[in-house]
């Protein structure tokens, strides 16, 4: 492999992450149920890709990215993390969820804190995640997911109060992140 720039690797990592997430999602509907070993392997690929993605982002010039619509993007990521959780095989899926939720955590930290008490809870980890804070722009490899509307419904903006709920949910995913590397 010669002359692979950081950019190429970055693009490749994003693509592999996108493919992996869609595979993980598709495996929920396959006949016979979730396969533990396959899900494990998928999560390992995602972890590799995420590590390579973040390390290649650091080596590039830092991009000043405005966290546009932090609620929206974090809500999408929350949906991603919520989806695999109800399954009966929490661990490998949590690994997969870990990747998505860690991304959402970094964005949560950037969002304006109406919820100061949650910010305080977040801050100890914030220091350890200082490196990841730089990856502040919404990663664009996550597929956009919005709830499918029933006929007659219409979409409305999430109320401000839901910001608190979002942060609360991110605390749950935060604790998952701490548990997983323990073994």
């Amino acid at each position: 492999m010669s002359a692979i720039t950081a950019m190429d690797v970055n693009v490749e990592a994003k693509r592999i992450l996108a493919v992996s997430i869609s595979k993980l999602y598709a495996s929920r509907t396959q006949r016979g149920g979730l396969r533990l070993h396959r899900s494990l392997l998928l999560s390992l690929v995602m972890r590799s890709a995420r590590d390579i993605y973040h390390s290649s982002r650091e080596s590039e010039a830092p991009i000043a990215a405005a966290p546009e619509e932090p609620m929206d993007t974090s809500s999408r990521a929350e949906e991603q993390t919520q989806l695999p959780e109800p399954e009966s095989e929490p661990q490998p899926v949590a690994n997969g969820a870990e990747a998505a939720s860690e991304v959402s955590d970094s964005r949560e930290e950037e969002s304006d804190g109406e919820t100061t008490e949650d910010k305080e809870n977040v801050s100890p980890t914030r220091q350890s995640r200082k490196r990841r804070g730089k990856a502040s722009a919404a990663p664009d490899f996550l597929p956009s997911k919005r709830a499918r509307l029933e006929p007659g419904e219409e979409r409305y903006a999430a109320p401000l109060g839901s910001c608190r709920t979002m942060a609360g949910e991110s605390l749950t995913t935060l604790s998952l992140n701490r548990v997983i590397p323990a073994f």
Binding site: E12, V19, G32, L36, L44, V45, S88, Q91
Partner: protein, 420 residues
């Protein structure tokens, strides 16, 4: 090794002339019994087909013990787990024969969740001349019975029956990936990704369980698929600590997947272990855990294509590997219906193809070659022309003769050594 060959097809004659395969006919496992007299195949539709070798006849020496269908039965049906809202596939993951103890044959077959013990027995006589019922089975009017007779066994056409003798279920949370029979003939083990269950063949409502707690890979080391086998000396190999340190220069996104082990086989003499990962086959000495004795490249030309193999899911294919009877040759499958044999002594290897075009009976298989460089010779095939939908995952070798069975999607190929 030069071979003549003899083709058998598992699917119905209706489908024989058509070039598509129904998914239910895809062979998912093949296994010789301990004498090599019987060959069992399991398919995705939950069926088991058993082939029996013809007795060699002096009048037709060229028909050297061909395999014919002996018994076909439906081993597993699709089930639905209502608690988890999951369908349980009927696909047969593994078949293992029990050593023969009497006239009947016994095998264990398993799908994702349930192991079954099947008895296959022959019936070539039946009793006739009952007193109380007539030949059709209808009860006779007692008033018409004037004499007493003893039913006599009369010969009938050979019938081979398969009956399920035991069902071992509800013991696995995850999908069963292998079973192994102990040489004491009383116990066997079934394993899924995180649990090993030790069963007694007589007892179906409980088993000993070993839970694997420390198999999750730490960051940076390859993941391993743990398969558990009872070897001839009855040692239970609890975990595979055989791990080659990873070469950091070859690290890629897919390092863990391609180093993940898809099959493990003990050698017949019990001294060696063979592991198959995505690109290589490795032979390990049981005494030496940190590096393999021998490493064989199965299809290294795929190393540059891992990304597209990841996208089309081929990188998750689990290839099996197998020893010959004397442990001198090892064999494993590849894509494009190719399979590879490695002679451990001469270090020679060969690539052969299991396909209908090349498989007229008694034709000798021609070695194939995949072209990796620029210039392709006439008979070579380039990497990009390989058909990745034609994969040989399951192969088996006769326990002491040079006969192999190779499953190519829904077709079963049986190859024998050339007769001089």
């Amino acid at each position: 090794m030069e071979e003549e060959n003899d083709t058998r097809k598992v699917n119905n004659s209706f489908l024989r002339d058509h070039n598509y395969a129904t998914e239910a006919d895809i062979i998912s496992t093949v296994e010789f019994n301990s004498t090599g007299e019987l060959l069992a195949t399991g398919d995705k539709g939950g069926r088991v087909v058993v082939f029996q070798r013809e007795q060699e006849s002096k009048t037709q020496p060229q028909r050297r013990g061909e395999y014919n269908v002996y018994s076909t039965f439906q081993s597993h049906e699709p089930e639905f787990d209502y608690l988890k809202s999951l369908e349980i596939e009927e696909k047969i993951n593994k078949i293992k024969w029990l050593p023969q103890q009497n006239a009947a044959y016994f095998l264990l077959s398993t799908n994702d969740k349930t192991v079954k013990l099947w008895k296959i027995s022959e019936r070539d006589k039946r009793p006739e001349g009952y007193n109380l019922k007539d030949e059709d089975g209808r009860i006779r009017d007692p008033a018409t019975i004037t004499s007493l007779r003893v039913p006599v066994l009369q010969p009938m056409d050979l019938m081979v029956e398969a009956t399920a003798r035991r069902v071992f279920s509800n013991a696995h949370t995850y999908h069963i990936n292998s079973i192994s029979v102990n040489s004491d003939l009383q116990t066997f083990i079934s394993t899924d990704d995180l649990r090993v269950n030790l069963w007694n063949l007589e007892i179906t409502d409980r088993s000993f369980s070993i839970l694997i707690s420390s198999c999750f890979p730490s960051t940076g080391s390859p993941s391993q698929l743990f398969s558990f086998l009872c070897d001839k000396t009855r040692r239970l190999l609890v975990s595979i600590n055989f791990e080659e340190p990873e070469d950091p220069s070859t690290r890629s996104f897919f390092s863990e997947i391609i180093s993940s082990i898809s099959d493990v086989k003990f050698s017949h003499n019990g001294r060696y272990l063979m592991t198959r990962d995505y690109l290589t086959v490795k032979v390990w000495d049981l005494q030496m855990e940190n590096k393999p004795l021998e490493t064989y490249q199965v299809h290294d030309y795929l190393r540059g294509k891992l990304c597209s193999l990841y996208e089309n899911d081929c990188i998750f294919d689990k290839f099996e590997c197998v020893w010959n009877g004397s442990d001198s040759v090892i064999m494993t499958g590849s894509y494009n219906n190719f399979f590879r044999m490695f002679d451990r002594n001469t270090k020679r290897d060969v690539t052969l193809e299991a396909s209908r075009e090349n498989s007229k009976p008694r034709a000798i298989l021609k070695p194939r070659k995949v072209c990796v460089g620029g210039k392709r010779r006439k008979d070579e095939i380039s990497v990009d022309s390989l058909d990745f939908s034609k994969k040989i995952l399951h192969t088996t070798w006769h326990p002491h003769e040079n006969i192999i069975a190779v499953a190519a999607t829904n077709n079963l190929y049986i190859f024998q050594d050339k007769v001089n």
